[in-house]
Amino acid sequence: MMSALPETAPEPTPPHPAGKGQLLRNIVHFARLLRALGMDVTPTQILDLVAALEHMDLGAKQDVKAAARAILVGRREHLELFDEAFELFWRAHRHRFPRVDLGQLLRKRPAPQELLRMAEPPSKGKGQEPEPDPEPELDKIFTWSDTEVLRRKDFARMSEYELAQVKALMEEMRWDLDTRRSRRLERARAGAQLDLRRTFRRNTRYGGEPLELAWRQRKEKRRPIVALCDISGSMDRYSRVLLQFLYAITHSLGRVEAFVFGTRLTRITRQLRIRDIDQAVDAAASQVEDWAGGTRIGEAVRSFNRHWARRVLGQGAMVLIISDGWDRGDPELLGQEMDRLHRSCHRLIWLNPLLGSPGYEPLTRGIQAALPHVDEFLPVHNLVSLEQLAQVLRGDAPRRHGWRVRPRRTG
C-alpha cells in the first residue's frame, strides 16, 4: 500500500444492495468462465480484483471492466476473448440470469478436430491382435532388429502400430542444442574479463595487492528453436508424426516456438507444452483450421516475418521449416520472404520428407525459389533422419546426408 496516499479514500457505495460475499461469488464465477475459455486465473488474482473493486464505483461498468482486465489478463491474445466474456457475464448478471452460455463463447474458438487422430497400439488386455509373448530372450533380439528396421522406415509407409512405437522411440531421443555466447558473464578459471569483485575479496588478505586474479567469461546459452511445419494435404501422412516430433523437442529443449501452416499460419507453442503427449498433440491439432488443404508457403512465411519474427527470433534462433515444398503460392514472394527470414535468424534449416525418397530432385518452383536462402536442406522421413537432425542442431553434424547449401547472403 502506498503510505503517501490517505487510507481514507472515500468508499464508493455499491449500487447493488448485495454485500461483499455476493461480489466475491460473482468474481469467482467469472474467473471460472475465463478458465473455461483457456485463460489462467489464480486465486491471488481474484483476491486482487476484490481489493481493487473496493476502490471503485461498481456501477461504472467500463471502469470495472478495465480493472478486471488489468488484473486478470496478462496477454494481448486474451484481451478480445476477455471483453466478450465480460459483456456476456455482465448482461447475464443484469438480467438475474445466473448461467452463461459457455457453448456460445467456446464455439468462437476453433472446434476440436478429429482429424489425424492416430490409433494407439493395441492395448494389452483386450488385444484384437494376439499379443506376442514369446521367450524373453527371443523377444529382445526380435525387438532390436525390429527397431533397426523401424528406424529406417519411411513414416508415410508405417502402420498405426509402428507409428505408436515411433512415438515411444522419439521420446527417448536425446536432443541438445548448439549454443551461442550470451552477454551474461559467469565465473571462469581463466578468461577475458577480470572479476573485480572476487579479485578484491580474495586479495584483501594480501593487503589489497592483487596477487590472485579471478576471471569471468561469457556464458554459453542454448539457441532457441522456431519450427514452422507444413500440414497441408500433401504432408498429410507425416503431419501427426511431425507434431509428435515438435512435442518431443518442446519438452526436451524448452525454448521452442512451434507454428503450423497450410494456407494460414497457426501458433501451437502453448498447446505443445501440455504434459501428456496425446493431449498436447490433440490440442495443437484442434487449433488448426486449415488441415490438409492447400499450401501457400510464401504467405505463411510472410505472415511469420511480419507478426512473429520480432517476437521469437531474438537471441540467435535457429529456424526449421518442415515442408515438402509443394506450393500453390507465388514463388517470387516465397523467395523474398525466405531471404528476409534467413537474414533474421542464425540458421535456416529446411526439412523435407521427400528428400528421403530415392531419385527425388527438388525441382518444384517453390523449392527452387527458397533453396538459395536456406543453410541446410535435410530429409525428415524416418527416425534416422531425425537423429541426423539432432546432430545438426547440436552443431556437430557430419553433413554427409542431405544437401549442404552454401548460404548466399545478399545485400
Binding site: 500500500m1 502506498m2 503510505s3 503517501a4 496516499l5 490517505p6 479514500a9 472515500p10 489462467d40 489464480t42 491471488t44 488474482q45 486482487d48 481489493a51 481493487a52 476502490h55 471503485m56 467500463q62 471502469d63 471492466k65 478495465a66 480493472a67 482486465r69 488489468a70 488484473i71 489478463v73 496478462g74 496477454r75 494481448r76 484481451l79 550470451s182 552477454r183 551474461r184 558473464l185 573485480l196 569483485r197 578484491f200 584483501t204 593487503g207 589489497g208 516475418n305 511480419r306 520480432r310 517476437r311 521469437v312 531474438g314 537471441q315 528476409r340
Partner: protein, 304 residues
C-alpha cells in the same frame, strides 16, 4: 502538484494536464496500480508512449524517476549495486599507512555503505524527502530470463540482500512501471504480480489530440493530414508500422521544412522519418504514397 490520488477521473485529468492523452482504461490501470501498490506492466508496439507514462507519473506524483534500461546480460553489478573497488584499494593503502590493516574492524569497514555504488534497483528502495521514487524498468523483454527471475524476487518483497552488508528494505515501496515491446513473452509469474495494460495505436481523434498537444506550432490542416496519412499507413502491410513517436517526428520534420500541407513531394522526401525498414520504404514510395494522399484529399474535400 498532485501527490495523492482519489479517483480515476483525477488521473484522467492529471494525464491531460501533463500532455498525455490516454484512454480511460489506462487511467484505471494506473489508478489501481497506485491504490494496490502493484507494478504497472505496459505492453505495446514501439513508439506508442509506454515509457512516457512513467515520466508523467513521476511528474504527477512529484517523485524522482529512476530508470533501468534493460539489455541482455544485465547483471547485479549494473542493475543493483557494485563495490567501489578503486576507493576500497585506496582505503587499504591508507590503512596500511596508519598501521590498522590488521585490525578486523577496519577491514570490515571496507564493505560498508560508504563503498557501495548504488545502481537503479537499489536506489529505488530509498525514499528521498520521504517520498519513494517511480521506478521505470524499460524494455524488460530485452533482458534475459535470469534477470526476470531476480526481478520477480525484488518486486515481491522490495528488499535486496547484499551479502557483505545485509538486507536492505524499502521503507516505502516505489511506484513501479515495467514496459515491454513484446520481442519475447515475459513470464506469466511476473505478469501476474502486475497490472497489465496493452497500449494500442491511437485512433484518429486521439492521435490528432496528441499531435496538437506535443507539436503546437504545427498548422491545423497539416496536423490533420499527417495523422490521417499515418492512420492509413498503419493499414498497409508493413514490417514495422509507424508509432506515435514517428508521427510526432514527422510533423516536426514537416514543420521544419515550412510545409503548410502534405504534398506528394514532401512525403516522398521525408518517408524515412516514418518508416525504418528499406523494404517498407520501397513498398510505399511512389504509387502507394500517391494513392494514399489522393484518398486523403478526397476525404478532406467531402469534409470527413
Amino acid at each position: 502538484m498532485t501527490r495523492t490520488v482519489e479517483s480515476i477521473d483525477q488521473i484522467v485529468q492529471a494525464l491531460k494536464d501533463h500532455m498525455y492523452i490516454a484512454d480511460r482504461s489506462l487511467a484505471t490501470a494506473i489508478f489501481l496500480a497506485l491504490k494496490l501498490g502493484r507494478p504497472l506492466f505496459l505492453e505495446g508496439e514501439p513508439g506508442v508512449g509506454k515509457t512516457e507514462v512513467a515520466k508523467v507519473l513521476a511528474d504527477l506524483l512529484d517523485r524522482p524517476l529512476i530508470r533501468l534500461q534493460c539489455y541482455e546480460g544485465l547483471d547485479v553489478n549494473t542493475a543493483v549495486y557494485e563495490w567501489n573497488y578503486t576507493r576500497q584499494m585506496l582505503q587499504i593503502r591508507l590503512m596500511e599507512a596508519a598501521g590498522t590493516a590488521r585490525d578486523q574492524h577496519a577491514v570490515d569497514g571496507l564493505f560498508s555503505e560508504e563503498f557501495l555504488l548504488k545502481r537503479p534497483l537499489l536506489q529505488a528502495l530509498e525514499s528521498r524527502n520521504g517520498r519513494a521514487p517511480v521506478l521505470l524498468i524499460d524494455e524488460l523483454d530485452r533482458a534475459d530470463e535470469e534477470f526476470e527471475a531476480f526481478l520477480l524476487e525484488v518486486l515481491s518483497d522490495f528488499q535486496i540482500t547484499v551479502p557483505e552488508l545485509g538486507t536492505i528494505r524499502a521503507q516505502e515501496p516505489p511506484v513501479v512501471v515495467i514496459t515491454s515491446n513484446r520481442t519475447r513473452e515475459i513470464h506469466d509469474a511476473l505478469k501476474r504480480r502486475c497490472l497489465y495494460h496493452w497500449i494500442d495505436y491511437p485512433g484518429f481523434e486521439k492521435e490528432y489530440q496528441i499531435v496538437l498537444a506535443k507539436v503546437p506550432q504545427a498548422p491545423d490542416r497539416l496536423a490533420r493530414q499527417v495523422v490521417g496519412f499515418v492512420q492509413a499507413l498503419r493499414g498497409e502491410e508493413l514490417y514495422k508500422l509507424p508509432g506515435v513517436a514517428e508521427t510526432l517526428d514527422w510533423v516536426t520534420a514537416l514543420v521544419a521544412l515550412d510545409q503548410e500541407e502534405l504534398t506528394e513531394e514532401a512525403i516522398q522526401e521525408t518517408l524515412g522519418v516514418l518508416l525504418k525498414y528499406r523494404d517498407d520504404i520501397q513498398r510505399i514510395r511512389g504509387e502507394t504514397v500517391r494513392q494514399l494522399l489522393e484518398r486523403l484529399q478526397q476525404g478532406e474535400a467531402l469534409g470527413l
